[in-house]
Symmetry: C2
Subunit: 138 residues, 2 copies
């Protein structure tokens, strides 16, 4: 369980001044036992519900993108309508439930290592992303 000092350190270490807005965002994102997936819209609504004065959208976007750049968040883009951020920054794949639009982590051991047999001269692999769409089986 992190405390403010940890967040301040986290922000500082990535070149961001610890403002109260950024610390509130840190609390929401990183003060948890488990990692999770969220959209900017989710985050913005949660921040609004916390009564206090609301944080401007621009600050939310800027902060989330800074965290992404610093590697504290990963972005999982599904399509033009759906983009999730992920507090799990390890290398992993996802289920996408197309009935609920929920993203679910696949652990390393849940997916057999993906082997690519094709190789393009002058190019190397940067990353491999697997998205498994699931639906109700009824």
């Amino acid at each position: 369980m992190d405390n403010n000092t940890d967040f301040i350190e986290k922000l500082r270490s990535s070149g961001l001044r610890p403002t109260k807005q950024r610390i509130r965002i840190c609390k929401l994102l990183f003060d948890r036992k488990k990692t999770f997936h969220f959209t900017i819209n989710d985050l913005s609504k949660t921040l609004k519900k916390e009564n206090i004065k609301q944080i401007s959208l621009a600050t939310i976007y800027n902060t989330v993108h800074s965290f992404k750049k610093k590697g504290y968040l990963k972005e999982i883009s599904i399509n033009r309508e759906m983009s999730y951020f992920d507090t799990n920054t390890s290398d992993h794949h996802h289920f996408l439930d197309i009935n609920t639009n929920q993203l679910i982590d696949l652990k390393k051991e849940d997916v057999e290592k993906v082997r690519i047999k094709k190789n393009l001269p002058g190019k190397k692999i940067n990353s491999i992303e697997v998205l498994v769409k699931i639906e109700n089986s009824n």
Copy 2:
């Protein structure tokens, strides 16, 4: 090499009236030896270059989405900024060259079958998409 009659048949068989706009789009998309990837923007620019009277953007969007719904095109969404359509409607995966933003087909034999070991009760797999990002290796 298809001819107009084939396109008219293709349109008819999917419940679309063969208008000259749709036939021009068919020609561009399907009158080729090899399948390819394109964006709406690519398609729109190509259509503009063909001197003749240009086709409205709304018609381009509507037609492409109809073809997608009918299964004549697949959509490969990379992120909010990049969405490709694919005239290769078979089940296949992709390289994305992050230096050029080019999408490249991976054939079935280029990717070892992806095995998912996790299983959620009440859910079944709808599709598995693998995106392999590549970059200059120099």
